[in-house]
């Protein structure tokens, strides 16, 4: 990475003033060059800075385990990098929607979340009153022609799922394009975080995505501990790692069950539904909540396990895993399942790299990328979880990567639970220091969770930027559907299982 960037490790705090503020053209040149050289965008966000908008980019160099941070001040418009670097297009739309900075020449400038602008006097879409536009009420991309038809799905779907709108342009069963419109879950998380930390903060972070409560709580805690210059006790670090992997297990096993359900393979669908609960209940054994809420706080963890409880928990996890092995063997050995999984919803390695996909969706394309290895923090610095990749980038690969990853997680959990370090699980964590900035990455079960936190002169949060893995990955789903049959959409969708609330914030 070029020397014009501030280089930092994951969860390493530095003075906010040390972030270089570059002219817009130089900033964009460095971003484009660094991406071309193999880095990816972890975060790219704005905040109000006088009459202008301060944009801060975080570029991750996975091979070196380094993060590059740089910024610029921009006025009412700037040239778009979206065509050159597709992984940036959604970030540019976000900055436009929030701060009115128009990316000139953006390949497709449209609302991202249909949220009101940060400055109510500057509405990027020129709306006069408080925006009443609802997501989905806008001109969709259309394919014209005889026998071309359009299918609209959502925001209220057939199942118990979060709201989103999917618009397909089809010819018979064949899908030309899928356009995904989100924003229905927007509830203003980032705005509520400004001015913290306060009594709401941890619960808010746990509610960014309820199925990733542990992951986001860890990313948050790592971040504010770094801002305070505080090191947690070893036992807390290990318990956090155990909780993170239990969360991954619950979701991966649940996903495999749902994928089985979508191809009508009921033995695995029903058993994985129940087995998922064994991992959720393991979290509840630790902290009382099936999603691990309330467990991770700045300073450590709120709950501990004595040796007996840890050993009992390990036995339960092992027993559950033996059943998962059986249930998933049935799934992947069934010819009717493989017939539906293989070659469906393919994302090429090139597309994956271009879009900056993360998590199992990226690893299924053969892109070896995992925060636990590339930007390790906490217990993962001492105990490495092997990274699993696939080759084919299809539904099968996304399922198989989950299956193998779950196995690595079980090995990790069992090993840790049977050898917990001694000592306390919590120590008082001081408040964040003023004028600091930290980038905190955690490998959640969907992929990289990125928290970029900057404190003001009083040590309060000036800006708390969240990037959910789904923010990068939704476009992957849209492209995976091109040329597929529309009847395979539920299966493709489930194989990604992206978060609406994590995207919409």
């Amino acid at each position: 990475m070029t020397t014009r960037l501030l280089q930092a490790w994951n969860a390493e705090a530095f003075d906010a003033d040390d972030v270089p503020v570059l002219p817009v053209d130089e900033f964009q040149q460095i971003v484009a060059d660094t991406i071309a050289a193999g880095a990816r965008v972890s975060s790219y966000s704005g905040r109000t800075d006088g009459q202008r908008t301060r944009v801060t980019a975080v570029l991750a160099d996975d091979a070196q385990g380094r993060l590059g941070v740089l910024s610029c001040r921009v006025g009412a418009s700037w040239p778009s990098l979206g065509a050159e670097c597709p992984s940036i297009q959604a970030f540019e739309r976000e900055i436009f929607e929030q701060f009115g900075v128009r990316p000139e020449g953006h390949p497709w400038l449209k609302p991202l979340r249909f949220e009101p602008p940060v400055n109510p006097n500057v509405d990027p879409w020129g709306r006069v009153a408080r925006p009443t536009t609802i997501p989905g009420d806008y001109p969709f991309f259309r394919v014209e022609g005889e026998e071309v038809h359009e299918v609209a799905v959502g925001p209220v779907h057939a199942g118990v799922i979060e709201p989103g709108h999917f618009r397909f342009q089809c010819h018979g069963e064949h899908v030309f394009t899928l356009e995904i419109v989100l924003g229905y879950q927007h509830r203003g998380v980032e705005a509520l975080l400004v001015g913290g930390p306060d009594r709401r903060t941890v619960t808010l972070l746990e509610s960014v995505a309820g199925d990733t409560a542990v992951g986001n709580a860890i990313a948050h805690a790592n971040g504010v501990e770094a801002l305070a210059g505080f090191q947690i006790p070893a036992r807390a670090s290990v318990l956090r790692g155990v909780a993170l992997e239990l969360e991954r297990l619950a979701n991966h096993v649940g996903d495999l069950g749902m994928m089985a359900g979508d191809v009508g393979f009921l033995p695995t669908a029903s058993s994985c539904g129940a087995l998922r609960a064994d991992f959720l209940n393991a979290l509840a054994e630790i902290c009382g909540n099936r999603f691990g809420r309330g467990l991770v706080v700045p300073g450590g963890t709120r709950f501990d396990l004595d040796a007996d409880a840890a050993s009992r928990l390990a036995d339960k996890v092992q027993k559950a895993w033996e059943r998962v092995e059986g249930a998933t063997r049935l799934l992947f050995e069934s010819p009717s399942v493989r017939n539906r999984f293989d070659g469906t919803g393919v994302v090429s390695r090139e597309t994956c790299t271009e879009l900056g996909l993360v998590g199992p969706a990226a690893r299924a394309c053969g892109v070896s990328r995992d925060v636990r290895r590339d930007h390790a923090t906490g217990v993962f610095r001492f105990l490495h979880v092997p990274v699993v990749t696939g080759e084919t980038g299809d539904v099968f690969a996304r399922g198989w990567v989950r299956r193998l990853e779950a196995e690595r997680s079980v090995e990790f959990v069992l090993r840790q639970l049977r050898a917990l370090p001694g000592g306390p699980v919590r120590a008082p964590c001081p408040l964040p220091r003023p004028g600091r900035l930290v980038v905190s990455l955690t490998e959640g079960w969907r992929g990289e969770l990125c928290h970029v936190v900057e404190t003001d002169r009083d040590g309060s949060f000036l800006r708390y930027k969240l990037v959910d893995p789904s923010f990068h990955n939704w476009m992957g789903l849209a492209l995976a559907m091109r040329g597929e049959q529309i009847s395979d959409f539920p299966l493709c969708n489930k194989s990604f299982n992206l978060s609406y609330c994590g995207h919409d914030l």
């Binding site: 925001p155 118990v160 229905y184 203003g188 509610s207 129940a274 509840a284 999603f291 309330g294 609406y500």
Partner: protein, 255 residues
């Protein structure tokens, strides 16, 4: 063993997964936090607990009216930690009420939702089809509602199930603080359900806005959507699947 014999062997080995509830006990982890029991005369009377509560759910700390509004409570247990003696969470999973204000409790009595009138029980008691509307939450409640239908909790053994269309439904289940962006879709879904219809608000967000309360881009839950009357309020963040099932069965007069 391959093929169908192998599948059957696995299924047999898997055994019965469905919980014993309601005939037998619903087993909860030891640390599960259910109905809180409060005593203003003990410890600091709940003052410190009120100060740390993320959702300002503790009412009248130190006073005779000490109570927790379970419509706001996220069951994080921070108040119990801060005010030992005055606030204690029990393992009682029954946490639903017919009126919103009924969720404000001090634990002196169990929180049991009253049943519908006889006519409504006759209509819905044997078969209740629900349409779920997710309106701006964190997907935690949705995950537990999905779990309520799996082989473990198997809600459909009571004739209760989620359906794909509001036209096929007897009512809706609302989760989330009702984001501005979902408000219209929620109203349309409710209007599409033929009357008479039930409305069930699930989780702290739907009951009060939860942790997102007072954010300008949401409605503070169903109390902020007066067009839609609510028949049952289910507390939790998220409510345990058994808590939801128990609330529905009590509404139907089945337990």
């Amino acid at each position: 063993m391959d093929g169908i014999p192998g599948i059957l062997q696995f299924r047999l080995g898997f055994g019965r997964q469905t919980v014993a509830y309601p005939e037998g006990p619903a087993r909860f982890p030891e640390r599960f936090r259910g109905l809180p029991v409060l005593d203003a005369r003990e410890g600091d009377g709940g003052r410190a607990g009120a100060a740390v509560c993320p959702t300002e759910a503790v009412r009248d700390p130190g006073g005779p009216g000490l109570a927790i509004d379970l419509g706001r409570c996220t069951f994080c247990g921070l108040c119990e930690e801060a005010s030992p003696g005055a606030i204690r969470f029990t393992g009682d999973h029954r946490l639903a009420a017919r009126a919103r204000e009924g969720l404000a409790v001090n634990g002196s009595a169990p929180l049991l939702a009253a049943a519908l009138d006889e006519r409504a029980r006759k209509l819905f008691g044997r078969s209740l089809r629900l349409r779920q509307v997710s309106a701006g939450g964190c997907n935690g409640c949705e995950a537990e509602l999905n779990a309520a239908g799996n082989v473990q909790f198997d809600m459909s053994r009571f004739g209760v199930a989620f359906v794909a269309s509001p036209r096929h439904a007897d009512g809706i289940v609302v989760t989330g603080p009702v984001s501005v962006n979902m408000r219209e879709a929620l109203l349309k879904t409710w209007e599409a359900v033929p009357a008479p219809r039930l409305v069930i608000a699930v989780g702290a967000c739907a009951c009060s806005g939860g942790i997102f309360r007072d954010s300008p881009v949401q409605s503070n839950g169903m109390p902020g959507v007066p067009e839609i009357p609510v028949d049952l309020w289910v507390a939790g963040c998220p409510p345990h699947p058994i808590t939801f099932i128990d609330g529905v069965l009590r509404l139907l007069g089945r337990v």
